[in-house]
Amino acid sequence: MTRKVALYYGLMGLVLAGVGVFQSWNVAFGIANLCLISAVMALGVNMQWGYAGLFNVGIMGFTALGGLTAVLVSMPPVQEAWAVAGGDLFLSFLSLVATVVAIVFARRAVPPIARLPVTVLLIVAGYFLINRFFVPATERIEAIDPALSGYLGGLGLPVLIAWPLGGLVAAGAGWLIGKIALGLRADYLAIATLGISEIIIAVIKYEEWLSRGVKNVTGIPRPVPYEVDLVEAGWFVDLATRLGATDMAEAASLFVKACYLVLFAAVLAVVMWFAERALRSPWGRMMRAIRDNRDAAAAMGKNVKARHLQVFVLGCATCGIAGAMLATLDGQLTPTSYIPLRFTFLIWVMVILGGSGNNWGAVLGGFVIWLLWVEAEPLGNWFMTAVTAPLPGDSFLAQHLLAGAAYTRYLLMGAILLLVMRFAPKGLIPER
């Protein structure tokens, strides 16, 4: 078993090295970085599905929250926005708190029959009260140089802080959602989480005062040096020449990627350690028992709801961390890019193909699928050229096929996925 794991990881390393040799090391490092991020996400999903059988299809939302956190932590604050709207925002926040407090109190005070109407009444009143301050505040914020800013900005702190914080934010959201939806079974939970993640994305897209919405936030400060600075830095040029580099731009770019690689690998290692330790301890056994049979686990004294909530929150936090890492690497937050295919289903494919319930499998799945996702494109082009090679160049069929070369990416991605699943139907590294 462990030999198989070692073999697969070895192979994966070889393939990446192959990319390095045959394409370029820049590509290989770039892919590896995203592989690492994907692996962290896959670990998050694996905790929920593999350990506990929770069918979360809302990964996208938690990833996006991580990304949002990266913006809110690292971008410089827009002083002007705070100046024109800070007061009103504070007031609307106060009204929100007041509304919540009022509701809590009222629900205690009134008899049960009156509870619902009173709550609804208070919510409506609160809604108007909050909007009274909130709407003008956001309008003022969004009016500030809309093409470039038009939002509150962030805290101007180092972006690395956003990684754990992104995890926390996602965990918070996960807790809230879990409280509401975890009673649902498998597929029904799935659609609920999917819905909630769409809601999260909608908020990030439309609440421009917070996130600039679809206008995107770009230029998130990096935790690593910039290439343009590196090529001018004496120490780097020295180092690179000593190592035999000729093209400084390339060396700088590689160096930056390597820095990210170290950071991401460290995060993955930490997450992995926690995940493995948890899974291998009685806690993991208990989770698997709950997954197998909720009723029996409950009868054996396991607080199924609390455990589900716990593991759900942990998984969401992990996805949040990965989301913050991704936004950091991209250097931007583009809400429109959060689509379920890329941020939910692809991650699921990673987990299942790697082997759900097995952390090493999930991580491997993350690597394999991301590599495929990226390399399916040149492979597809190559494939079509090869297929049409025997046809006369100007034949209709050849032209038609070549025009469709870009879409072989889908074809290949699917075909390889099907092949791997055929060869390892329980995942590359099954649970046991």
Binding site: R277, P282, R285, N293, A299, M300, G301
Partner: protein, 260 residues
Amino acid sequence: MIKVEDVTKNFGGIRAVDGVSLEIQKGSITGLIGPNGAGKTTLFNIVAGHFPPSSGRIYLDGEDVTELQPHELFHKGLLRTFQIAHEFSSLTVLENLMVVPGDQPGEDLRHAWFNYRRVVANEERVRERAREVVEFLEIPHLENELAGNLSGGQKKLLELGRTMMVDAKIVFLDEVGAGVNRTLLQTIARSIQRLNRERGYTFCLIEHDMDFIARLCDPVIVMAEGRLLTQGSVQDVMNDERVIEAYLGTGRKHKRVSES
């Protein structure tokens, strides 16, 4: 010890349990019998907290436990088995047993992550106990088999085995005997008696095997059509006309004269 007060349970239009009141005395081995569909399992489920009664209340040692969840009742010392085996199918037999103890430090992530030594020490103890149970159930060779791969009877044994992993106050057994070999069942009966005598466990068991009931139980409660039909000593109950008609039958009429 357990007091059931006027409990009723409706499923849609079906009234599975209909105003049942009964008491289970501390230290007794109470039998619960009755025809199929009498509502015995439903009553168990209500007492063990799997769903709330439509009306009525449940008391454990005088405390109202009607609203409590199964896991909370477990921690109060109430254990139960399932009529249709609820094994953890992707766990091994040993793991199935090791899951049970409720106070394991390793089930708390703080210990699992930051205090692993304590977890390991406790694991040893739990494994020890699980091995004993496996021995007792006569399936030591299956210790590492996935529970999903067990035979029907073995699953029922495992179901019983789980209740032996902790020191319970009261154990509800739902047809542990069905599908279990009769010779082994005798061993089980003996150990129930022993646990009852030596450790003071209270038992309440549903069973259709009257020999088993007769041998172990006093008193016996009879349910039929969701209601309490009668209760009393085994003799009283077995000679009760209503019980014979509804449940026991006149018996043995099927004996076949061998044709040779």
